[in-house]
């Protein structure tokens, strides 16, 4: 439980003159669900992309299971197999059915035998409750269903850790629940997860730790109770209160008043 699966050390990203984030140090332990919150434009999404090496960093290191994956010459394609990623806009492969979306990584990347891959793909679709939509194309699925397929696609690779980049931000309100439901189930099954979201209900009930980021730095991190009820910084309290009012009216009464 205490062994860190993922570790970012002094991670820094700069675009031209713009410092996106600086000296971010973060540890994700096995089975932990960490939620990153913060105003838009504070580099949360870029942080996730730097962690699974989709975007090159400008300083610092990332460790997966104790090995530095940002080291020179490390096989980046191989690393990404072990870090699942779910995107805000789903990004399913449009020319493939839900089933083939989940299966293609198994056959082409993991070189799994067809029979075994089929079985596994079906298992993963079942896990997100979409076995009956296996032969549907992304264009035939609702946003919520597409995102669940995207989660299944990432899970199929048996990742050590799952990254979620605002997985519900592009969804109609009535579709958010089904995606959060799948994520909650994953958290209960002790999947290691790093989640960027504005869903405060999810953060409070599911997260083991909440990290509050602003202007490219981590302002504060701690258990949901600590951040919601005893934040160290006024800014944390202010942000949480605002976002809770915006996104979850029902939570309003419970949040610490400013």
């Amino acid at each position: 439980m205490t062994h860190p699966i993922l570790e970012a050390r002094n991670l820094t990203k700069i675009y031209g003159q713009n410092v996106i984030f600086k000296d971010i140090t973060l540890e994700v332990k096995e089975g932990e669900t960490i939620v990153i919150i913060g105003p838009s434009g504070t580099g949360k999404s870029t942080l996730l992309r730097c962690i699974n090496l989709l975007t090159p960093n400008d300083g610092g290191q990332v460790f997966l299971d104790g090995k530095e994956i940002t080291a020179r010459g490390y096989d980046q394609d191989e690393v990404r197999q072990h870090i699942g990623m779910v995107f805000q806009n789903f990004l399913l492969f449009n020319h493939l059915t839900a089933f083939d979306n989940v299966m293609i990584g198994l056959t082409k990347v993991r070189k799994m035998a067809k029979d075994r891959a089929r079985e596994k793909a079906m298992e993963e679709l079942n896990r997100v409750g979409l076995a009956d939509r296996a032969d549907h194309y992304p264009g035939q699925l609702s946003g919520g269903q597409q995102q669940r397929v995207a989660i299944a696609r990432a899970l199929a690779m048996d990742p050590r850790v799952m990254l979620f980049d605002e997985p519900t931000s592009a969804l109609d309100p009535e579709l958010i629940g089904e995606v959060l439901g799948v994520m909650e189930k994953l958290a209960r099954d002790r999947m290691t997860m790093l989640v960027v979201t504005h869903e405060m209900g999810f953060a409070r009930e599911v997260a083991d730790r909440i990290v509050f980021m602003e202007k490219g730095s981590i302002v504060e991190e701690g258990s949901p109770d600590d951040l919601f009820y005893h934040p160290k910084y006024e800014r944390t309290r202010e942000f949480l209160w605002k976002i809770t009012e915006l996104y979850g009216k029902k939570e309003k009464g419970k949040a610490a008043a400013p």
């Binding site: 989709l54 394609d77 492969f93 449009n94 293609i104 264009g139």
Partner: protein, 212 residues
């Protein structure tokens, strides 16, 4: 009379032959250039852009002569092969632009998602980007296919006995230009019509299903 008409029809096989060499040749070269332009980094991007600009900035017939004399002079190709390959090179620049547009239309997100699953860039292009881009490219490519079919008449200037060449000979021997060229026109029209219909069908068949 029917003998004369037969003479032109025999040229049709050669016209089709020229097109069947030029189109795939242009497709492969154009696809390579489009990929290099889109994913090849700065230097290759420049080279591909210059290639496209140059070839599309000069009339096909002029290029045909230049390429023909280079090809037939250096590796001693027959007029048929030299002409067909030259036509393919000219077409590659236009096909490159069609495919480049299609690659851009697929979007960077698909590449990101493919890389996130652990695919290499090459795998992502092969399994994710190209299957989608080629689908998108069919309608504009259909247009280019009919242009190449019609431009195959240009190899007549190199002495290849295709439809137009034969029509011209007939016109001279029979003194009936309207009949000779009219017959050529009808054959071209039927061929272009068939190609466009065929590709429309292919486009319909490969369309991805959506809600409605």
């Amino acid at each position: 009379m029917s003998n004369l008409f037969n003479y032109i029809v025999q040229g049709t096989a050669i016209t089709i032959g020229v097109t069947l060499v030029a189109l795939p040749f242009g497709l492969i070269l154009g696809l390579l250039m489009a990929l290099v332009h889109t994913y090849g980094g700065k230097i290759f991007n420049r080279i591909a852009a210059a290639y496209s600009l140059l070839l599309r900035g000069v009339p096909p017939i002029v290029l045909l002569f230049i390429l023909y004399f280079i090809l037939s002079g250096s590796i001693n190709l027959s007029p048929f092969w030299a002409g067909s390959i030259s036509l393919g090179i000219v077409s590659s620049a236009y096909q490159m632009e069609i495919l480049r547009g299609a690659l851009l239309a697929v979007g960077g997100g698909q590449m990101t998602a493919a890389r996130a699953v652990g695919m290499s860039r090459l795998q992502a292009i092969q399994f994710i980007i190209l299957p989608q881009a080629l689908r998108l490219a069919i309608p504009p490519w259909s247009n280019e296919a009919s242009i190449v079919l019609k431009d195959s008449s240009l190899v007549y200037a190199l002495g290849v006995p295709e439809i137009l060449r034969r029509a011209q000979q007939l016109s001279a021997t029979t003194q009936q230009p309207f009949l000779a060229y009219g017959a050529a026109a009808v054959i071209y029209f039927v061929l272009v019509f068939a190609v466009n219909r065929g590709l429309d069908y292919l486009s319909e068949r490969t369309k991805l299903p959506t809600h409605s």
